[in-house]
């Protein structure tokens, strides 16, 4: 995504917003991935079987664990890249909120079953 960035001057009293933007976008991506992995596990028997990390909990264990690990990896990656920058947070957070709302909607079974 095209987020306008500037490097914050080292003496700036206001902390750069990059770290916050990284956390927000990563949360949006993580929420979206929950829905994506759930749909994939529902549509493909191979993926469903691969997502069984815990036999007692079934595919839900793999869906959620994979999404959480991906969310944390994205967060660490974005944080390392953006922590000293000032970004167009409105654009980043709007994109993250869209992903979050998509995650919310795509976990709703009648919508998930459309795929």
């Amino acid at each position: 995504m095209n987020a306008h960035t500037t490097f914050a001057p080292p003496t700036s009293a206001i902390r750069p917003n990059g770290a916050g933007a990284a956390a927000i976008l990563a949360a949006g991506i993580g929420s979206f991935l929950i829905a994506v992995f759930a749909i994939l596990a529902d549509q493909s028997a191979t993926i469903k079987s691969a997502m069984i990390f815990s036999r007692a909990t079934g595919p839900l264990s793999g869906v959620t664990t994979s999404a959480i690990l991906a969310w944390l990896a994205v967060w660490v990656f974005l944080h390392a890249r953006w922590r000293n920058r000032n970004l167009a947070v409105a654009r980043v957070s709007a994109f993250a909120l869209v992903l979050l709302i998509l995650g919310l909607l795509l976990t709703f079974p009648p919508i998930a079953d459309l795929f």
Binding site: I14, R15, N17, A19, G20, A21, A23, I24, A26, A27, G30, S31, I34, A35, A38, S54, A56, T57, G58, L60, S61, V63, T64, A67, I68, W71, V89, A90, S93, A96, L97, L100, I101, G103, L104, T107, F108, P109, P110
Partner: protein
């Protein structure tokens, strides 16, 4: 007066952690509005800024405990498969719900949505806590970050409410029961 172990765990998960999280969400939203609404001119002390970060961090811990107890303690009991020839499905809630067209949607829509949407809550609130802790008083200078945090806390409340509503209705239609019985109080016989 007695309660089964599975029923006790379901209460701890839903009425304990889950309900506490929902109440805490309301508190977080009120606190965020109170601090950062345009009409608020009061300067908060550093100690109070720390309080917001700690409050959100405790909420995040609560949210993670709720989803993990749900997925790894109660859900296996819910989805247990009855052995062939089982006459009563009372101890197998998922199969009990699916056995009747009047109740099957509680599983196919209710549980299928609840088991995934609930995980949005801890992700959202962990982000909110991280931002509040990282920025502290400086969050006052980042209105766009604050608005994003507020939006995510709202969605967190929505997803937790959805999970809570379906959890309550599922347990009403097909309670998770079984396991060792805990005797709470011995009643008097007449």
């Amino acid at each position: 007066m007695e309660i089964t172990t599975r029923s006790l765990w379901t209460m701890i998960h839903g009425m304990g952690f889950g309900a506490l999280y929902l109440m805490a969400c309301s508190g977080a939203l009120v606190e965020l509005y109170r601090r950062y609404c345009p009409q608020s001119h009061s300067a908060f002390a550093a100690r109070k800024e720390t309080f917001l970060g700690v409050y959100l961090a405790v909420m995040a811990v609560l949210a993670w405990i709720t989803v993990f107890t749900g997925a790894y303690v109660i859900y296996p009991w819910y989805r247990a498969v009855p052995p062939p020839g089982t006459a009563s499905l009372a101890a197998f809630p998922q199969r009990l719900l699916l056995s009747s067209p009047q109740t099957s949607a509680w599983h196919s829509i209710g549980m299928e949505w609840k088991e995934h949407v609930a995980w949005l809550a801890p992700i959202c609130i962990t982000m909110a806590a991280a931002v509040a802790i990282q920025y502290g008083r400086d969050l006052r200078n980042h209105p766009q970050l604050r608005n994003a945090v507020l939006g995510f806390v709202w969605i967190s409340l929505l997803s937790a409410s959805t999970a809570g509503f379906f959890g309550a209705m599922l347990n009403k239609n097909a309670p998770v029961e079984g396991g060792p019985v805990i005797h709470l109080v011995h009643g008097e016989s007449r």
